[in-house]
């Protein structure tokens, strides 16, 4: 279980050696390392789906005394997703990044190590450490171009990320002083959810993660950061980092606290959805429109999870991550070809946009459809109506981007083709329903999680 993040970690450390000078070799090794890591995670995921949760005690010390790595259906699905997206981003970056290649791939691999660590760890303090590893890599990646906008974006994210990290660390310290453990399964067995002090700590922890992913009302900085970074970095930020942070919030809500319904977080989700989509209409820069669009889509994901629609939320989380990466990489081709876009990328962009708008039979139509029907089944009519109406606003801001695009040179990049195939494959609903319903069952089974991790 250590292999998936040991491989990228070893490779990014090895890049410090003077032996690695050939840029093509560095690119190939980095892509191979992510591919190997993905293969390990996929093979472990198959085992998890067939025979249940896997627990690995680091250094042989079992939980709650030692650090454990836990791979259940939820974490294995998210780990596979982030590695798949990272592979596409790394492959695409090999065409775009021409300077300081070694530094770029070292940082990208470090970011992947951090995000994988967050997903696999069973310890809340380790989760914080891996969050910081991921963030430090991202701060540098955002300012990678060393242009004025990039550096400003990086500095803004550094300050806001640090504020969020301080709040997170404070919450974790208070939690440890109150509960006396940092192992998540052990916390579940010791906490009383009616304790007001613990409630305050967990709300503080969740809000600090909300600052990191720019949920309303903490969204203001995100468009600045996205518009200042390179397209593959923006894709990494929205596809990988956001997915990982959403994973953490859901893990705290569902697994640790056992809260499946939260009216207040549903309201925050609805407002995030509305504000993100309406502000996207107002923007003139493509990347800013996409950034606000991603904030709006986060609203859908949070709305699903905060109303107890776990498999619907999971389906939309996967759809959204893949499509957002596809959109950013398609836009990235414009950067390579003097603001011109080749035909396949243009179609890829259209496919992604139409899917996120919710046009049948594309993948995001089904996830949105399941969310809206789920809301109607729970008699949450107002949420359902707003979700439906926001899809129309989504159509308007993606149309705006389409008007800005220009068609140019003919060059095809294989990561974009693979992402198109992924979006089309996600439309085969029955297969995915089976997987995501399995994830939902696993997420709701708190007692099984505790017994698996704390098994003597």
């Amino acid at each position: 279980m250590l292999a998936p993040y040991a491989v990228p970690l070893l490779i990014c450390t090895a890049f410090a050696l003077p032996v690695f000078k050939n840029e093509k070799l560095i690119k190939a090794i980095a892509i191979l390392a992510i591919f190997l890591s993905l293969s390990f995670v996929l093979s472990s995921s198959i085992e998890v789906f067939n025979s249940g949760t896997k627990v690995f005690a680091v250094s042989g010390f079992k939980a709650p005394f030692g650090i454990v790595m836990v791979l259940d259906k939820f974490s294995s699905t998210v780990a596979s997703l982030i590695l798949f997206l990272s592979l596409m981003i790394a492959a695409f970056s090999s065409k775009l990044v021409k300077e300081r290649v070694k530094e770029f791939y070292t940082l990208l691999l470090l970011g992947i190590v951090g995000s994988l660590g967050i997903v696999i760890t069973g310890d809340i303090f380790n989760m914080f450490v891996f969050t910081e590893i991921m963030n430090i890599a991202t701060y540098a990646l955002i300012g990678f171009t060393a242009k004025k906008e990039g550096l400003e974006a990086s500095f803004k994210y550094l300050i806001i990320g640090s504020v969020s990290a301080v709040l997170m660390l404070l919450a974790i310290s208070l939690l440890y002083s109150h509960v006396g453990t940092l192992n998540m399964a052990d916390i579940i067995s010791r906490i009383d959810t009616n304790d007001i002090y613990l409630k305050t700590i967990f709300i503080m922890l969740i809000l600090s993660f909300c600052v990191k992913i720019a949920v309303f009302p903490f969204y203001v900085w995100k468009p600045d950061v996205i518009s200042g970074s390179l397209e593959p970095v923006a894709a990494f930020f929205i596809g990988v980092m956001t997915t990982t942070t959403v994973y953490v919030i859901i893990r705290i809500f569902y697994t640790i606290l056992g809260i499946y319904y939260s009216t207040w977080f549903s309201i925050i989700a609805i407002v995030t959805m509305i504000v993100g989509s309406f502000l996207a209409l107002l923007q003139k820069d493509i990347k800013r429109i996409l950034a606000y669009g991603s904030i709006s889509q986060l609203g859908y994901i949070f709305l699903a999870f905060s109303t107890g629609l776990a498999f619907q939320g999971m389906y939309h989380l996967v759809n959204n991550a893949i499509i957002e990466v596809l959109l950013f990489l398609s836009i990235g081709t414009m950067l390579m070809h003097k603001k011109m876009m080749e035909k396949i990328s243009m179609y890829a962009f259209l496919l992604g946009a139409l899917s996120l708008i919710g046009i049948p039979p594309l993948s995001a139509f089904f996830s949105k459809f399941f969310i809206i029907t789920g809301l109607l089944e729970k008699n949450l009519f107002i949420y359902a109506i707003i979700s439906g109406l926001i899809s129309i606003v989504t159509l308007l801001y993606y149309m705006k981007i389409y008007f800005m695009l220009k068609q140019g040179e003919k060059k095809i990049y294989w990561p974009i083709i693979i992402l198109i195939i992924a979006v089309l494959l996600l439309s085969f609903v029955p297969v995915w329903l089976q997987i995501f319903k399995g994830v939902e069952v696993d997420l709701l089974a708190r007692n099984e999680y505790v017994s698996e991790v704390l098994r003597p």
Partner: protein, 89 residues
């Protein structure tokens, strides 16, 4: 049946007219209002500007000032407010 054919012809002719005439008219001769030449704008630009005016989106946009101090202040205030509200309910 004849009515249906007539409607179809009208629809087809309207579409052809729209495709052929409107872009040419916009490109070759800029529209005039009270004898004053208007600045040419793409229809989509006008549409999005009107939409933003109707919905009053510019007030919301003002929150994204680009200034880090404002962002930090907003995040801190919202964090404290939400923390208090969520703990109280």
């Amino acid at each position: 049946m004849i009515q249906l054919i007539a409607y179809l012809i009208i629809i087809v002719l309207t579409i052809i007219f729209l495709i052929k005439m409107i872009p040419r008219k916009l490109k070759k001769s800029p529209p005039y209002t009270c004898g004053e030449p208007m600045k040419f704008e793409k229809p989509e630009t006008v549409f999005y500007r009107t939409l933003s005016n109707i919905l009053g989106l510019k007030k919301l946009q003002k929150l994204s000032t680009g200034n880090l101090n404002d962002y930090l202040l907003m995040i801190f205030i919202c964090f404290m407010l939400l923390l208090i509200v969520l703990v109280m309910v």
